[in-house]
Symmetry: C2
Subunit: 158 residues, 2 copies
Amino acid sequence: MAEVTDIPWLNDDEQRMWRQWMGLNAELLATLNREMQADSGLSNPDYQVLVVLTDTAEGQIRVSDLATTLQWERSRVSHHVARMEKRDLVSRRGCPDDGRGAFVRITETGRAAIERAAPAHVLAVRRLVFDALTEDEVAQLNEIFGRLRSRAGLATTE
Amino acid sequence: MAEVTDIPWLNDDEQRMWRQWMGLNAELLATLNREMQADSGLSNPDYQVLVVLTDTAEGQIRVSDLATTLQWERSRVSHHVARMEKRDLVSRRGCPDDGRGAFVRITETGRAAIERAAPAHVLAVRRLVFDALTEDEVAQLNEIFGRLRSRAGLATTE
DNA sequence: GCACCATACATGACGTGTCACCTAACCGGC
DNA sequence: GCCGGTTAGGTGACACGTCATGTATGGTGC
């Protein structure tokens, strides 16, 4: 077993940055969620699903493709779509080509909801994030986040 | 109602960065949570609570102070501490000075759990984040995140 | 003392997310 | 045709978080 002194603990700068990062993440998510909820009754996950659906030509998509696009587990999609179906934001129907498959389709209510929510959401993201960043910083963050994401894919401890 | 063309939609660079950010955020949290769960049976929130408790001199803290430190709502603290109490990670006891108050205290089980979890957690954060960043980048990110946090009206003061 | 309000914390309802597991349908071999 | 493995998707149990509300105590003005 490793001794305490062997562990490469975070130094003060690293610790500060890590706390800022995690704190900011929590605040951003909470604020965006709260504002959208108040403005249009949609949650963040609702919004993500509806964005994908409006971006597809037919306004419908297979559950698995939705899962892949959102990087969600299929069971998560299943649960969430079920909840959204109860609120009439989407509808489900079987897939004629594949008896196991299912299509998720956006409803008129869903389309109305996201069209109402989108402008305020974008404004909020601008206000909270992009208004305070230069173009260079945006590019730099994009590069850094992309680097970390691709690294994370490779490095898995078994 | 505002026309679609009036909305300051995100441009391609901004959209890419925003998606990278949110995607990375989800992946980091999920990975850290999953690894710690597998390694020591603690969740991320569990870990945060135990860190605060081990950082206090007495190993105990008032519920409200815990909420302030973690930037959590008190009801969240209440729920979470209740769950942790069931697993014998912490214990609750009334406050003699203030009949309304309650102390949360770390148990031996809790102390053992976090001492077991901490090294792996730090190593994971290093592997996923700091190993891929230069010292300058860490400083820069710290500055940017701090700027966004204070702008959002949700200051740090740690 | 006694209203009156604020504070400290708990609780119930509900949406969200993960994990383990299930069923049903497809698909390749024979 | 049948058989065995894979795939699509759903479900139940449970942890997590928020909101609204409840309950008891503390404090303050009269």
